[in-house]
Amino acid sequence: MELKEKIAGNEPFPGIVHDTPGGGIVVSTFDSIINWARSNSLWPLSFATSCCGIEMMSTASAKYDFSRFGFEVARASPRQADVIIIAGTIVNKMAPVLKRLYDQMADPKYVIAMGACAISGGPFFYNTYSVVKGADHIIPVDVYIPGCPPRPEALLHSLISLQEKIKLGMTREQIRGEFKG
């Protein structure tokens, strides 16, 4: 089985179960258990700067409902949030605010760039004096979603992709941590 498949869907909990009379023993590593726990309870920051925010609200509401994947607790404070979804255009005046929000979030933290504006400036790439050409000029991004704006399905896909990335230990922070330790 592919590692990715194994982590993505077919394994409810990381590790091997050794059946014993009257129960069982799970053999696993702390890292994979921590990653499993973290990936299933990602709290997004309520942060949106333009029309992508409307799609994000739609994804949060009953029809698409991202709480099915552990994203239900949208926080109004960066200190309680794990993931920031950059939903919309980042203008030059917003850039220091975004940086400060990111700095205020507690580790481990993840970033999703939602939509064309957050990826590259999108429709505001040419001939504009006020728009940052990609949020990754300011903060590191883990997952990019194209679209203008992306459909809620695309946002759900990106959220699930982020979970997979965390379970695989492939986010920027996890890789950096491995080099340190």
Binding site: N92, K93, F125, Y126, N127, T128, Y129, S130, K133
Partner: protein, 150 residues
């Protein structure tokens, strides 16, 4: 009032005014000097233009044009007043003592086009940073650091 009556009335207030009826509204072109007295008369006279619903500026490369959209809530009538300004020293009298809403609109035109409104109570930049250089909505605006030209 029909357009003909309005034109006649405005000619008595500002004899040099010219008219253009090709658009949705009656366009009245006046000089920058006669704008303020005309505006006062439109607000307080029989036209009762008590609602300034748009104040903006256009850069035609050879000159700037101030554009004022006026409406009367009692008569449901709208007209457009325009005044040309030269690019080197665009100066015009403020109208924010007639319509308070013009205070912010004029600040926006000030930061985007560099039009100077005399007697404005608080002529600062509205949205841009205070240290922003240049007037971004002018056609000759250049910003090699932030702008990617197509």
């Amino acid at each position: 009032m029909t357009n003909e009556e309005i034109k006649e009335y405005i000619t008595t207030l500002a004899p040099a005014a010219t008219f253009d009826e090709t658009g949705e509204w009656l366009n009245i072109m006046v000089t920058a000097e006669e704008l303020k007295p005309l505006m006062l008369a439109l607000r307080n006279g029989k036209m009762q233009m008590n609602y300034l619903f748009c104040l903006t500026c256009v850069d035609f490369k050879t000159h700037l044009t101030m554009v004022y959209h006026l409406s009367a809530t009692s008569h449901r009538q709208s007209i457009v007043i325009k005044a040309n300004l030269n690019l080197e020293q665009p100066v015009i009298e403020t109208v924010c003592d007639i319509w308070r809403t013009a205070e912010f609109l004029e600040r926006e035109v000030f930061e985007m086009f560099g039009v100077h409104f005399t007697n404005h109570p608080d002529l600062r930049k509205l949205i841009l940073e205070d240290d922003f250089k240049g007037y971004p909505l002018r056609k000759d605006f250049e910003d090699p650091i932030n702008m990617i030209k197509l």
